[in-house]
Amino acid sequence: MGRRFVWLSLLLAALAGCSERLTAPGECPEFCPPTLIDIVDTVITGAIVRDSSYRGYVQARGASALQIARQADTILSRAVLRYFRFPDSLRAATADAELSAVVSVDSFRVRFTVERMTDVDGLELALYRLPIDMDSTTTLAEVAPFFDDSTLIATIPIPDTLTTDSITADTVAVMVLPAAFPTFAADTGVVAIGVAVRGAADAFMDLTSAQGAMSPVVTRFVTVDSLATGTEVERSDARQPLFDTFLFPPPPPPVGDVLLAGGAPSARSLLRIDLPAAIVDSSEMVRSTLIIVPSEATLGAPGDTFLLRAEALSADFGPKSPLLGSTIEGLVLGTTEVVAGTMDTIRIDVTHIMRPWRTDASLPRSFMIRVVPEGAGLGEVRVGSTREGSGPALHLTYVPLVGGGN
């Protein structure tokens, strides 16, 4: 009896423990459920409401790059930099407790980190001596006269191998004699430099600013009278900019009540979305694209391309709305490249922004459109607004969910 019961138990256990395998190819539509996955692909023009633009987020003097450009043999944009003061005494040796007087200045080395996004060859940086009384109120008209051959202190050839159509940074430098800064002593050890790009064709270049990853640096090479040994020793010290910016003629005013993004100071546009609940609450977004048709040719340095990004908000406080922060996907898909001087339709993938709206009702149903990095270039997009009856549109591809996605 006991053995029989064991066998029976084993039989039951074998059946109960049998693993399941159900997944099988379907023969649709005959042997598939009716329309469980339906997909809708549509362009909606009236979904963006209460759009607004605001300017002043990042000033040129606070941007991570200084864009210099030339067009039609004239300087379109130029960088100006005033460096921290060099002291008149240094330690002759690291262990010295006392400072030793600088006997003489032997030379300077001026170094920049350059990002070039152009295929124009034969470019060079032209460095000019500027007055040191520059600050945030300095205008283009005030510094323009100093971008002259009489104040030219050096040129730095830019290797043609340095980048083509992608962002690549490299360092360029030039040694200059003390004569380049004849008022160095009178200016109490402060130097100011203006930088322009020169070449045979229209071109532009981005210099990393003091707010960027690789700050411009002026290194001074000096002779110091050593107090300890009574001999003169060679030393060097370096200074970063106390103030840097780039100056350019004001762009033409926008025509009409348009939306703006980019420029310097940077502008952003806030787009608020009003979609039917059947789409935003009861459907899974497969792909959503913001379609922007510029109302005029995009502004920017000749040949420049810049990045336009749509970002989600963590709260909608109007112009001061905090950005939610980009996901890795957002960096890839929420950004698109815009070519300056064109009126091509701009498409930005906003799927990763809109998709969470269904499951998180606390997220504002808004985008902020901006150029990245902000304030670092002349690139600016101008788009018709809803007030002009020509606002951006949304191209949505979505799947209505079974049961409304509850």
Binding site: L22, G26, E30, T397, V402
Partner: protein, 378 residues
């Protein structure tokens, strides 16, 4: 006390654990389940109209004397061909049937409660297609899965009127749920994958009545009637469908020319075409009235005093109610089984092996199915 414990165990099995799935489960309201025990399965369902351990005829409940508890375990191994698609090696295990029944005190009344499969909606389908999105063809891979069924919860009361007549009535609550999952992947990764799950619930009610007449010691006849309300399907609390459930008419005959030899047959007709409007609207399927005929022979068995191990064989023919075409699918089943008593005849273990052939509507399905049932008389 021990009986109550067994009852609790038997009824704790979830009602959604129901019958085997099929390529036909995706059609219409689903694949109708078979509310019969392992014994009746071995006889092709021939004895279903007389079997107290099946949920076909409530009059059969009157046969319960002492407390009876029973449950089934079924394993199915399946293959099918449908159009260009085919699959084999599919397998599934379910607890499709359980009951508890007993005479009420010293009265001629007996009561039984239990659950049985009603409509199976379990499937897990993958498919490929190409859709045009934004003017470009994009390949997609879909997976549509549904796991669950609606179960028939029955409370039946049987009455013995003398030694020749049993009558009975039952109320039925049809309830269940399926968890549906959809998944769509696009070949173009800029289109994000869609994943969604939802819960579909089914609710209906019904009643049944029947009678069994013992004409002689060698002949018994049975008949039953069942009617159910519409079954309402809600997905995530939103009503989405209302399907007319059929009226069922059943008749049976049981011949015992020798104590060790019994032949039985049961015939059922169901008015599934009532559901034509709703299943046609929701899935473009066609619904048919169905006939089902089962017959079986049983040799021996300890009750007959002939042998300890009865030999049961049966054959069954059934029409399936839903089809994607005008071709009504059919099902043939060949079955064999036996049983063994143990624990001083207080426990009965039964086993049935079935070979199921389903054809029609553009598909062809083959199933090996093993059912094991345990009956306890505590």
């Amino acid at each position: 006390m021990r009986g109550l414990a067994v009852l609790a165990v038997a009824l704790s099995v979830p009602a959604t654990a129901a019958a085997q799935n099929s390529v036909y489960s995706v059609l219409g309201a689903g694949l109708p389940g078979r509310p019969i025990g392992v014994h009746a399965r071995a006889l092709g369902g021939g004895i279903a109209a007389f079997d107290a351990a099946s949920a076909v005829n409530p009059a059969a409940v009157a046969a319960f004397g002492r407390l009876n508890v029973g449950a089934n375990l079924t394993g199915a191994f399946r293959s099918y061909e449908a159009g260009e698609s085919s699959a084999d090696g599919l397998r599934q295990t379910r607890f499709p049937f359980a009951y508890v029944g007993s005479r009420i005190g010293r009265t001629p009344l007996s009561l039984a409660v239990g659950y049985a499969p009603y409509l199976d909606r379990t499937f897990d389908i993958t498919s490929s297609d190409t859709v045009v999105l934004r003017g470009e063809p994009v390949a997609v891979e879909d997976r549509l899965a549904s796991d669950g069924s609606s179960a028939d919860l029955r409370g039946a009361l049987g009455l013995r009127l003398g030694s020749r007549l049993q009558i009975g009535g039952a109320v039925h609550i049809i309830s269940g749920s399926t968890r549906m999952e959809i998944n769509r992947r696009f070949s173009d990764s800029t289109f994000l994958t869609v994943q969604d799950s939802s819960q579909a619930t089914f609710t209906a009610a019904g009643f049944s009545a029947g009678a069994i007449v013992t004409v002689s010691s060698r002949l018994r006849l049975a008949a039953s009637f069942r009617s159910d309300t519409d079954i309402e399907e809600t997905v995530d609390s939103v009503p989405v469908a209302d399907v007319d459930l059929p009226v069922t008419l059943t008749g049976g005959i049981l011949l015992a020319p020798h104590p060790a030899l019994r032949w039985s047959a049961t015939v059922s007709w169901r008015s599934w075409s009532d559901a034509s409007a709703s299943v046609g609207q929701n899935g473009g399927n066609t619904a048919f009235d169905t006939w089902e005929v089962g017959s079986g022979l049983e040799f021996g068995g300890s009750d007959a005093g002939a042998s300890r191990f009865p030999l049961r064989v049966g054959v069954r023919y059934a029409q399936l109610p839903f089809s994607p075409t005008d071709d009504r699918p059919e099902e043939w089943v060949v079955a064999a089984g036996s049983a063994i008593q143990f624990a001083s005849n207080r426990a009965l273990l039964e086993a049935t092996l079935e070979r199921i052939f389903r054809n029609g509507g553009g598909a062809r399905e083959r199933v090996w199915q093993i059912s094991v049932g345990l009956r306890l008389v505590p």
